[in-house]
Amino acid sequence: MSDSDDDAAFASADEGEINDPSAVGGMATQKIKEKKENVEQMTKQEPQKQASGRNEGKGKNKKKKKGKNGGKETGGKTLTDEKLSAKNLTEEKVVKAEERKTEKPDKIQSETDAQKTQAITKISTLVDDKKSQDNSDKQSDINSDKQSQISLDKQSQDNSDKQKQDNSDKQSQINSDKLSQISSNKQSISQDIHKTVVSEVNSSKTDQEDSVTKIPVKPDNVSNNNIVTESPESVTIPRERDHTPEQEEVLENLTSAAEEQSSGGWGWGWGSSLLKTATSSVSTFTHQVGDGFTTLMDTVETSLGAPPPEEMVKDETISDTEKDEKKETRATNKPESQPKTEAQTKTLDEKTNTQTAEGADRGGWFSNISSLVQNTVSESIGVLETIGTGSLDVMEKIGKKTYSVITEHDPGFRKARQFLGNKGDKQNLSALLRDAKDETDQKIEMEKESEEARKCHFGCLFDDYQGLAHLEALEILSNQSEKRVQTLLHAMSEETISEIKPELLQIKDIFEIDENDDEATEHDFVKLVTDQLTELHLGTTPDKLNKVQEKTRKWLIDFHSESGDDKTTTITRDPKEIHRLAIQSLAELTSKSVEQFHKAGELILLQKDGEKSYLDRSKALAGLTEVLCTEVGILSTKFSHCLNTVGESKELSEVVNPLVTNIYLEATNSSTYIQDAFQLLLPVLQNAVIQNSDVLQ
């Protein structure tokens, strides 16, 4: 026993354990009976234990609260401690038995032995590591203190043969006895031991859980719930606090459960039956045990302090032996931390007597479970617990395992996961797309608006109707005519100039039209235009002008005729549409007017017959200009009236008013274009006068 040599404390603890089983009188044949007895004792003892532990537990609870994560470690440590002790007691026996049973147990025990030695030696170095690993040494110390105190009580009880108080101790002793028996004897016996151990563990668990949860649930449910949901820390903490009320209930439940177990097989129902089934087929059992053990460990670890998934994966991949080693290292840390406290000295002694007591005190049922598992039937328990914990854990493990397998064997999975996981990016992308869409929509909207604005823009429409081009062409003609007039006049003698000057001046007078701001009165546009063009005598027809004007007037008439009943209306009542139509009509009329003047100018320059005096033509052009401007005024007034009508009926005055203003503005523009075109004809006419004058010839 290298362990005992290295560490006196451990050695003493080992001895205690060794002694305990003997004291209990662990006979292979008596195993079953003892188990039953143990169960009974446990049930009886637990209430006492809990009651006694109340006072002690309060302080402990506070300490434990500080470090929840420490619970894990404590559990692991206790496990290792228990292992050590149990191993020391019956190393050879246990090893043999386990070797017989399964490979895993062999490994575990042999490893545990080696680990024990290592752990003892490394204790000093490991303490620091443990600290880092554990949340804090304080927690461990606290735990150890608590444990030591508990153990003290238990030990005293044990010493006085008050086994009732320390259920855990007895159980542990029983376990050790069982272990020894198992090792020495048959596998079937060991299986029985498993059962007993399991039952004991369950009972202890149930007790603790009951105390914690206060729920008087049947042992089966309790055990399941404990493993799954509650971590040892939480369990231990409330347990000790709520001793009397809860624990008593628990105890009662336990006693009842124990009675049931003792009387009619194991009250744990399917759990025990499973065990039995497992015994029948050892090989499968071992398999299940191994898996169950790993699952159990994982579950315990997660429940204790949620170790990082990496560790989980590692644990899964790593052999069980490695796990044991880790636990041992953890356990070794505890013993070191223990000496720090006063109770530690006591605990040392106590340890010898009751290792399991420590485990129970530290990690509660969990420690017991773990110790039991590792010492003897850990695998079977694991299976039980795995089953007990329910499908959730299994599912979880399967999921994690699957994930790890996929991750390890499919490098592309990471990318896929990143792709799938990067929902943020996706959102960003969608946001980008949305933004782009919004931008596009805005752009389209702007284009639409600009297009609409353009459709309502007099200048643009005027250009579209080629009015601007005609005006430019007319301007070209006018400029050329003016240059020519100047040139001709320069070349003329004063006599000829004086001869021709009166006609030029007369024409110029005609072109000075009075600005007629009077309200435009209704007129016969077609007749007047036709008359003026006839008077002009250039062969041009008023068709285009009349066409535009008639079209516009018809719309206005239709608008007013249908203004009464909106239902049958085929004419828009939209102010914007009316406005657009008004501007378009004005632009078209203006364009045709400019075109008319342009053609007139071209023809005046070309026609060299003297059939019509340029004075008359000038008057006709002036008259035409007046008619066109009057028409523009009338149209603008009528369109404004239409808008006002719509605005009044629909209470859209705010919308209509600017449109009306715009119409009047563009009407002014229109008149200006027409008069400009007319003015551009003056040089053309003068040019024609001079060219056609008798003087020049």
Binding site: R454, C460, E472, I476, K599, E602, L603
Partner: protein
């Protein structure tokens, strides 16, 4: 309706003998329609269309459809000056119209000078091949001799109508890009469009080129 955004406005003038099909060609180009009957043009008429000279760059073609009748000659001459592109049309079924091309070309060149313009010789009514009096090679040869481009078109079936306008528009655009044609005040051959970026100001500020290179 002409769309609002364009880089430049090119003023093109169509000249040629009466009834060679200037108005028909323009109507087909702007309206996509061919009209059997067409009143003789009085003085000048106007058409407009946007055309893309380069991906993303549109120019507005302001098309001056002059009267081919001799009596309007004095008037139409006035309009040459402010044109950057001249399309000289002849009727491939009418030898006399082709013979006058040389005269039209000289007249246009004389009036446009000192400004630069792009000329395009167009043998029109190419659909009436059975009545052809002017072989294609004659028209092409004339164009090549004068360093001009040549194309045969038909407003009847639309042959080369789009291409002819695209050809001259691209030619003008490239000449502007190369600086051979400059945008000047007082000359309306090329104008900036509504959406013209400001950078084009530099073009106008460029050093004036010494007289016609041809």
């Amino acid at each position: 309706m002409v769309e609002p955004i364009f880089e430049y406005q090119f003023r093109l003038i169509l000249i040629g003998d009466s009834t060679v099909g200037k108005s028909s060609l323009l109507k087909y180009f702007t309206d996509g329609k061919f009209e059997e009957t067409c009143d003789p043009t009085v003085g000048v008429d106007f058409y407009a269309r946007l055309i893309e000279v380069k991906p993303g760059i549109r120019v507005k073609l302001q098309l001056w459809d002059t009267a081919g009748q001799e009596r309007f000659r004095s008037i139409t001459r006035s309009y040459y000056r402010n044109s950057v592109g001249v399309m000289i049309l002849y009727d491939i079924t009418k030898k006399s119209s082709f013979d006058n091309v040389k005269e039209w070309y000289a007249e246009a060149k004389m009036h446009i000078d000192p400004h630069q313009a792009v000329y395009l010789i167009i043998g029109h009514k190419a659909d009436q091949d059975e009545a052809r009096q002017v072989p294609t090679r004659d028209g092409r040869r004339f164009a090549e001799i004068n360093g001009l481009k040549f194309v045969e078109t038909s407003a009847m079936n639309g042959q080369n109508v789009e291409e002819s306008f695209s050809l001259i528009a691209k030619d003008i655009y490239h000449n502007i890009e190369d600086g051979k044609i400059k945008i000047e005040e007082g000359w309306d051959g090329v104008k900036y469009g509504f959406a013209r970026p400001k950078e084009t100001v530099h073009l106008a500020e460029g050093e004036p080129e010494s007289g016609g290179c041809c």
